[in-house]
Symmetry: C2
Subunit: 411 residues, 2 copies
């Protein structure tokens, strides 16, 4: 593969494709609701496969419903280079989170094909299944199965709030794309690079265009079930009650006080709360809630996790609480050689760059255990993501994809 640096991506096409993709699941309020394995994701697959085919990329999938678009290399038996992210969004998500990485990887591969450059290895643009976890929790299913961190059987059993299983929805997707060839789960990969919006204000504040991601902070998620006793809101004396909502309120208040202020780096979120039976004049007998706990330091994460369990059990009284750890992902460090290549590419293009930690989780966390991996961040407006107002500037979008292409072009 020629070590030339004058190949430029088509920035206009890249931007137009991002905007076109955002029409699938558009909320009507600038945002996107395209949750995992929905009809919206089917439509996104069709579009991506079509764009890939136009550039000679061949679509394939695996049992975890990951989508691979492969540009054939001179030596297709070598482990491929891979880049991408995911196509699913939060219920009120934006146009860039996930979509950007997939479209940037497609653009890089398309640009190589257009320039009649045959890379040494296959280059794969990938879309991992269910990164967000808003429909089927927890997320990063496709990458975690690919890397061997979760079993496909366990993932298939997870159900959404309507009781529909991930397995049934994977099968429905594969039925809709029956011509798409199956690859084995977790095939050998030479290196993985994931472009993504930063989802924080650091690049914006420091006026940098490219973030060279050094690693991802650790994350644990918990599901806590509070069990009390149902009763009539007008008759049962306060002293006799086992009210699951008041127990939840005490627990959440104590978690915020004790863990939310652990240090400046901790992140604690109760994003999902379900109250049963959730009727105005019935004392609630059950609350199920999710805690998302993150810290860049693994020891701090373990300490916070231990006190979370203690606090929940202690403050549940007179109700009872059970704490189930759903996800435990340690902080990780990305491949030094890939970081170096990203830094060099940014320098060459005269793009201001900086090293930084990722505070959000990404599929690259799982890939990092499977092959040398890295991430390229670009700024997003006011650090806002997982929101309809999510925004990245076209120049930054183009810059990140160009750096990706340049890095792939040196490998």
């Amino acid at each position: 593969m020629p070590k030339t640096n004058d190949i430029r991506i088509n920035g206009k096409r890249l931007w137009q494709r991002l905007m076109r993709l955002a029409e699938i699941g558009a909320t009507g309020n600038s945002g996107v609701n395209r949750q995992a394995l929905t009809d919206g994701e089917h439509a996104a697959w069709r579009l991506l496969i079509q764009w890939g085919e136009e550039a000679g990329l061949r679509a394939s999938t695996d049992d975890a419903a990951n989508l691979f678009l492969t540009l054939k290399g001179a030596n297709p038996d070598l482990p491929p280079l891979m880049a991408g992210s995911h196509l699913d969004t939060q219920p009120t998500g934006g146009k860039f989170d996930g979509a950007y990485g997939v479209i940037a990887a497609l653009e890089a591969a398309t640009t190589l094909a257009e320039n009649a450059i045959t890379p040494e290895r296959n280059i794969i643009a990938v879309a991992w299944m269910n990164e967000e976890g808003s429909r089927f929790a927890p997320g990063m299913m496709g990458s975690a199965v690919f890397s061997g961190d979760r079993s496909i059987e366990a993932v298939r059993r997870v159900r959404d709030s309507d009781g529909i299983s991930t397995g049934a929805e994977i099968d429905r997707l594969h039925d809709a794309f029956e011509g798409v060839k199956k690859q084995p789960i977790g095939f050998h990969v030479f290196a993985y690079i994931e472009p993504h919006i930063e989802q924080d204000v650091v690049l914006e504040r420091e006026q940098k265009t490219i973030g060279i991601v050094t690693g991802i902070q650790g994350k644990k998620t918990f599901e806590i079930t509070v069990s009390g006793t149902k009763g009539h809101a007008g008759t049962v004396a306060m002293a006799q009650r086992r009210d699951a909502v008041f127990a939840f309120a005490r627990m959440a208040h104590m978690l915020e006080e004790q863990i939310g202020h652990y240090d400046a780096d901790v992140k604690l979120t109760i994003g999902r709360v379900e109250v049963h039976p959730n009727a105005p004049s019935v004392i609630p007998d059950k609350v199920v809630f999710r805690v998302d706990l993150r810290h860049p330091d693994n020891q701090a994460l373990e300490e916070c996790s231990a006190s979370l369990k203690t606090l929940c059990i202690h403050h549940a009284s007179p109700c009872e609480a059970s704490v189930c750890e759903l996800v435990s992902a340690s902080a990780n460090t990305f491949d030094a050689e890939l970081q170096r290549k990203i830094r060099a590419a940014a320098q060459q293009r005269k793009l201001p760059a900086m090293e930084m930690l990722s505070f959000a989780g990404h599929d690259a966390r799982y890939l990092a255990g499977h092959c040398p991996s890295a991430m390229i961040f670009i700024p997003c407006k006011d650090g806002i993501s997982h929101d309809e107002s999510e925004w990245a500037e076209p120049d930054d979008v183009v810059a990140g994809a160009q750096v990706l292409l340049d890095v792939l072009n040196t490998m």
Copy 2:
């Protein structure tokens, strides 16, 4: 009307009808889910109308979808006697709450008809629309419209969680029963008596069969909206957040501490909580919750209500909170003469009776502002109601209906 005391209700039929009615909306777990204006309530109407017709009772309704089954009296132009309750249940309700009062009233009228007794006035067995308020909140819609405390227009605008309006569901019910004559809203009533399970343990503890209800404690309900800022659970620093769930937790915790312990008589419940967007890794930007506040003393109720508003606004920071008072029903006192008649009837039948306050709200609260009103309580097992395990003993069920018949028979 003859002042005879030897007319006995048919206890076996009364019990069988209660059990038959409980099949409509049966949860499969001994409970009933027959919420207001659902197909289940349509089926309950059909059954009640059929049973009424078999005894010569004529069905009618009004714009608020109340159901009236009228036994014609000697002088039908006189204001009628009325007895009954409601047919709707909580989502996981029982066989007796509401249903008992309607079936007892039907049984009393049926017994008179069977004994060829023509009462002086019309006797109406009534089923009020949407007492529970679990589908369309707040409840007691039918009785409040009938008594003039709420407008039919306001009630019709209320929507359930699927966005379906009460008005559309009233029209759907009336379309399904187009042969049923319409009465004017709030016609003149001579007296109203509501038999009901106690929903508390007082009768059981004191080993009494009949509760002569002196009044109903006051009740206020509030809807509180907490507004914060959405964000990514992994990136936004804790100090920068406006997390609506943590604000809710502080508010709920302070409400429990400050108002829940006001005195031994106060009742405070947060039965319904909705979190937005309710996704595990999104900092929630909105929580909407309902507070149910009750007290037998009107001044205490006002004091608690005032501090509730202050506490919510104060502890919402850094989020914002708005407090909307949905229902304000003062404590009321039932008609002394009707209470006397109930006591006399119980004595005559050698049924142990006691005076007591109702801690639960009932349609009789609204009727009390419209005509002389009273309530007859019977014990329920362990005081449990609004629950699938709700239970009343057949002997008590029969006793309460007999007292109702005896009282009607003296008027």
